[in-house]
């Protein structure tokens, strides 16, 4: 409960920041733009022709939900990778702010355990990422649903995946902050984890072109634990566009991503428990 209170405080702090205000406004503006400018007369025309003549005039016309699959796919990738990049930049300062002189002493004087402080910060950021991703994807679903009559909840599920992927990146950023209180270093750690996640996605192909040696062993070890973010993005895209994918593999991938985030948080707590302020 205390962690949730810390998370709520973080959300209030985020609401006061211009970064997130700008993100909210940008997303809203984009959705409104789509709402008023998306030309979907082809779908409307087909529906009208069906009503009038009993069949579409153009027999090769695609079903609206099939035609919209690429749109949902692109949107899911934008939410996933765009969300990761935006999250790394905009959330890099939360950890250092938590540990800033004066504030951390005040927080530690309260009846709150140290691990609860870190867990609360993490949950707050995760909630923030979830809110942003779900707002963008749900807005898109609403706009397209209103325009075409195609209603699907999968893009929202896909956005949840994107937020959880960002959770694993933010856990690394928080762990680095506990050692060195620097927003820049925190952002650099997040960016490095995103790159490592991409490399882990293509691990087998990259290992194949590497000669045996220390470098290859190091790369193999490092990329064996980092979640393959590209695979998660592919799964998110497949979910959003109703493409076939293996649910068992996704569950496992998701569990591994959460375990990785939990491991980094545990390391952060281990360091935080001993640190003097």
């Amino acid at each position: 409960m205390i962690s949730l209170a810390v998370a709520r405080d973080l959300l209030l702090e985020a609401a006061a920041r211009r970064w997130f205000l700008a993100l909210g406004l940008a997303l809203t503006g984009l959705l409104l733009l789509l709402l008023i400018s998306l030309r979907l007369e082809v779908v409307d025309g087909a529906l009208a022709a069906t009503r009038l003549f009993g069949q579409p005039l153009h027999h090769s016309i695609q079903a609206a939900d099939v035609a919209l699959r690429p749109v949902f796919l692109v949107a899911s990738q934008l939410v996933f990778w765009g969300g990761l990049c935006f999250g790394v930049l905009s959330c890099a300062d939360f950890g250092p702010a938590l540990l800033s002189p004066g504030r951390i002493e005040h927080l530690l004087s309260l009846p709150v355990r140290r691990w609860e402080l870190l867990a609360g910060t993490f949950l707050g950021v995760l909630a923030l990422a979830l809110a942003g991703a779900v707002y963008a994807s749900a807005g898109l679903v609403l706009v397209l649903g209103a325009k075409t009559g195609v209603w699907t909840g999968w893009p929202v599920v896909s956005a949840v995946l994107a937020a959880l992927a960002f959770g694993s990146v933010y856990a690394g950023m928080l762990a680095v902050t506990v050692w060195v209180r620097s927003a820049a270093l925190s952002a650099a750690a997040g960016a490095s984890l995103v790159v490592l996640g991409l490399l882990a996605t293509h691990r087998a192909a990259l290992l194949d072109v590497m000669g045996p040696g220390v470098g290859r062993t190091f790369f193999a070890g490092l990329t064996s634990v980092v979640p393959p973010l590209g695979k998660l993005a592919d799964a998110a895209g497949a979910l959003a566009s109703s493409a076939p994918f293996a649910p068992g593999g996704l569950v496992r991938l998701l569990a591994g991503t959460l375990a990785f985030a939990a491991a980094l948080l545990a390391v952060a707590v281990w360091r935080f428990e001993r640190r003097d302020f």
Binding site: V225, A259, V267
Partner: protein, 351 residues
């Protein structure tokens, strides 16, 4: 234990769990590149084999020639051939690879017919044939043909005599078309199949040492491996195909490719490419190396693990003495897997 160390312990366990959970399924473990001795020179057994094949040619118009020669290599050099390959049938037959190939032949319906037909004519290709050579001037087969039924094979038991031991027989084309086949026998140990009597006479002259000695295509010292030979740049370009620009560049760069294949157990292939321009050769080596790496990566990315595995067994060595070397080492297990389709295994080559 202090409580904070429990966090570290938990982190360790979670990292292990994460590594297990996000583990990307690896394709089957790649077969390591075998440490095969590449065929680079005559081995003791091959030197013995080479020496036992050298014969002294008969006298040439009363002036006996002193040099010794390998009749097969002399026959291949006749006519100034620029390219020629020799397959050591007998040596290959007695190798594990030969066993696999024979099993393959035996298991395929109808493939044994050609072998059986030859056996009915008194030539057992698996026992009587020693080597088969091929150039642009025809095919040369060496072995023991004393039991051969020449009448059944060529339509006549004897041909027009030429030289000391030569006989030339023109075999008429079949009713369904084709050109006249000229079969040239040299005693009971060499058979040349070509398409002109001029070539036949050149072969017999070269084998018996008459006239000016032709420029040797292969020296006896180059007769190592179970398959060996040389291919000229233009012939290589024709064989490989490709566009005009590629063929021109290849001909300008590689004047000659010497090939040796060792199949005593694992299969080792060496192709030494020589040329006049060392810089162009170096570029060719880099091009080949890059193409191999790219093809391997593309095959892996495309999920074609079989091709990727095969390509990983090849490498291009830097130029040595103005030549570059392409080496391929295939483990016998991989070759056996490729030939598993002969056993009717539906999954052949997929593992």
């Amino acid at each position: 234990m202090e409580r904070r160390w429990l966090w570290l312990l938990a982190a360790g366990l979670l990292v292990i769990a994460a590594a297990w959970l996000v583990r990307i399924p690896e394709p089957h473990a790649p077969v390591p590149r075998p440490e095969v001795e590449m065929p680079r020179q005559l081995r003791p057994a091959e030197r013995q084999r080479m020496l036992s094949r050298l014969t002294r040619p008969p006298a040439d118009a009363g002036a006996p020639r002193t040099e010794v020669r390998d009749p097969m290599l002399a026959a291949l050099s006749a006519g100034g051939a620029g390219s020629g390959l020799v397959l050591e049938v007998n040596a290959l037959r007695n190798s594990p690879l030969g066993e696999l190939l024979l099993n393959c032949l035996a298991a395929r319906d109808g493939r044994g017919n050609a072998l059986e037909a030859l056996q009915r004519m008194g030539i057992d290709p698996l026992r009587d044939v020693d080597r088969v050579g091929i150039t642009e001037h025809g095919i040369v087969v060496s072995g023991d043909f004393r039991r051969a039924n020449w009448e059944g094979l060529l339509g006549t038991a004897t041909g027009a005599p030429y030289g000391e031991r030569g006989q030339i027989t023109a075999v008429d084309p079949r009713t369904d078309g084709g050109s006249t086949l000229v079969a040239t026998r040299w005693g009971d140990s060499l058979l040349h199949l070509g398409d002109s009597e001029e070539d036949a006479r050149r072969v017999l002259d070269a084998v018996e040492g008459r006239g000016a000695a032709p420029r040797p295509l292969l020296s006896p010292e180059q007769s190592y491996g179970e398959l060996y030979g040389v291919v000229s740049g233009p012939d290589l370009a024709r064989t490989l195909g490709g566009n005009e620009a590629w063929a021109t560049a290849l001909v300008e760069t590689a004047s000659r490719v010497e090939v040796h294949l060792d199949a005593r157990r694992d299969v080792a292939l060496v192709a030494d490419v020589s040329g006049e321009d060392a810089r162009k050769l170096e570029d060719l080596g880099k091009t080949l190396g890059g193409a191999l790496a790219l093809s391997r990566a593309q095959a892996r990315a495309g999920g074609d693990d079989e091709t990727a595995e095969l390509l990983s067994f090849a490498r291009v060595s830097p130029a040595q003495g103005g030549a570059l070397s392409l080496e391929v080492a295939l483990p016998l297990e991989v070759v056996a897997r490729r030939l598993a389709f002969c056993r009717g295994d539906a999954d052949a080559g997929r593992r």
